[in-house]
């Protein structure tokens, strides 16, 4: 990763700028991460990791040109890493879940489908996930996605079509396992 310092900002100004960026994009990053990981602790982890980098002034050169796009891509990538590394984690009680029951209870079937979907999404290419999550988690139109990610509308539409087809295949394979 490239590093760029923020030489002009120190003390209060930097604290204020950091908080402004967090308030502007934090929830967007969190929702993105949640839609990929499917759980609060992992989404919180992703959010914290990304903004910790920001706090440490580990900003890539292109951060300032489009902070939202950068944070979004980082959120998708980190969230995917988190899901993909789950196979290394031991099944554990989730203290957060024990302490605060799920906000929106879902049926077993729905939950199973959601897990299957999360697993399948983790097997897609990050670029496809970026587009997929913008569409279905953030309700962006093709044109909005194209603008944010710097792609053509055609590319967005084709990627979405292929991603859905791939997801269908992956979920069917997942079901039969």
């Amino acid at each position: 990763m490239a590093i760029a310092t923020v030489p002009s900002l120190r003390g209060e100004a930097l604290a204020q700028e950091f908080e402004e960026i967090f308030r502007e994009h934090g929830q967007f990053v969190y929702r993105t991460a949640y839609s990929v990981t499917g759980n609060r602790p992992d989404a919180e982890d992703v959010l914290q990791t990304i903004f910790l980098k920001l706090l440490r002034r580990e900003l890539p050169p292109n951060f300032r040109t489009n902070p939202k796009a950068y944070l979004y891509r980082a959120a998708v990538n980190l969230a995917l890493n988190s899901v993909r590394s789950r196979k290394y984690l031991s099944p554990m009680d989730d203290f957060d879940s024990l302490e605060s029951p799920a906000a929106s209870p879902v049926s077993d079937a729905d939950e199973a489908l959601q897990r299957l979907l999360t697993k399948a999404i983790a097997q897609l290419k990050p670029r496809a996930v970026e587009i997929l999550v913008l569409r279905y988690a953030h309700n962006y139109s093709d044109a909005q996605i194209a603008k944010m990610l710097g792609k053509s509308r055609g590319t967005v539409a084709v990627t979405l079509y292929r991603a859905r087809a791939r997801l269908k295949k992956l979920m069917r394979a997942g079901e039969t396992l």
Partner: protein, 551 residues
Amino acid sequence: MKNDLKNMEEILSRHLPLPSQDATEEDCNRVLQHLKSQADYTRPQSYAEIPVVSVFRWRRFVLAAAGVVLAVFIGSTVVRHPSAFAVVASVDGSLYRVVEGESRAISVGDPLAKGETVRTNGGAGAMLVLADGSRVEMRSRSELTLERATDGVRIRLSHGGIVVSAAKQREGRLHVQTRDVTVSVVGTVFLVKAEEEGSKVAVIEGEVRVLQGTTEQKLLPGQQVSTNPMMQKLEVKEEISWSRNAVAHMALLQQTAAAAATLAFEVASIRPHLAETTDGRGGGGGSNLAPNGCAAVIPTVDPRRLAIADTTIWTLIALAYPYPNSELFSACGHLAPLNLISGGAGWIRSDKWDLEANIPESARLDVNYRPDFGTSVPALSPGEAAKLQKMMLAFLEERFKFAVRREMKEVSAYALTLEKDTSPKLTVFPWSSSSFGASLDDPKFKTVWARIPSGRSLGEGATMSGKDVYMADLARLLARRIGRPVVDQTGFADPFSFILVFNPPTTNNPAWADLPNVFSALEKQVGLTLQETKTMVETWVIERIEKPSEN
């Protein structure tokens, strides 16, 4: 469910996980408060955290220094609570004290008494420091109890994972106990994991005794044991990947593992070079001695043999320096402009020697010979090159009484970066003196390009080129021309080809005056940028070197 799959639009719309607004706000606020409490808006950029690609050894020393700072902080924390059994040194997320089945949040600086149970939640981690200075890093979703044992301290790990950096115990031992295993140490770094199906112990540094039932076994760095063979098998580096200090632990592990298995030549002879020496396989080294003491050599490298003729000890020292370099035998030329090695008597840069060495079977080199303009040069992978570097260092230490003082220095450097989602481009800068012609379609270009072997990088005069090379090769070439370390931060891992035409910064040739400078040329011709940065490098100051005794 199969029917549902027919309509992926609907599935995605209905089943893509989405958090409630309350949960979003709650978690975001918690993270913001946590980050604000950790923030130091005035501290300078931490270069220790800059990812320095392929310079693992350089990092080790930076991290060691960071460890000293951490140790000082922890020491002062414990002193503030002289009666505490342990103190919370840092928390990422939430840490709880379990009292009569209830969880109560605790924070940094809080003391922990004997018999107390603490646990981390999902996505959290924490560092505790015991009264003896031992550090216990807790993974997320872990729970442990601190107890006094008859001969020291006991950490009872109910579930989760911990990495323990045990301080040297003055008397007694530090024990970690899970449901089915007890680990005892007197001063070391190790990991313990307690899961439903069993426990796992992995050693990073030192020696650990693991007691399972009546069976006791000893583990050394890099070794691990699990109480249930059905547990998933992961390498130690994967087991500790969750740790905030994973890089430091890995460096430690590599260091201790390397020390355990010292690499050395089996037999080696070093003789003053005689001009008339002719050895059919003598390495084919030329007598090209540069003013900086580097001898241009193309040695003979077989899996079990190394021969370098007509070389200087300075060149051999550069071969021993841990420089990430796939073109190992040009190490001296690359290192000299960076001034990473200094000191030593004059003869090491002027006297010529012939080296013949046998490589032990256990360190057998995987050598490829790469066609290179009608001849062939040995090519080693980075891992193989590192083996040779270690053997060369051991040889110099033994035969030349070579001793260096290693120092970490923060130096000005350049970071090589590439715009996200792009690849380096191959273009031809139209310059009349260039051997590459005017464009990629120019027959002249095609003829010249066809002659360049794949995997070869070249840097001469005002041009620099590479065919199917890696970013590290370009970074090294640039470093040599610019005279500063160039840190590859592109993240681009594939081979690529490039041609760069520029006015070299260290020369003053009027014929090149109109050419773009290296920064502009890189950006326009290859699509890469160079940005000023700082980096930590390991420098060698030669403290001792003597001419060798008879073979």
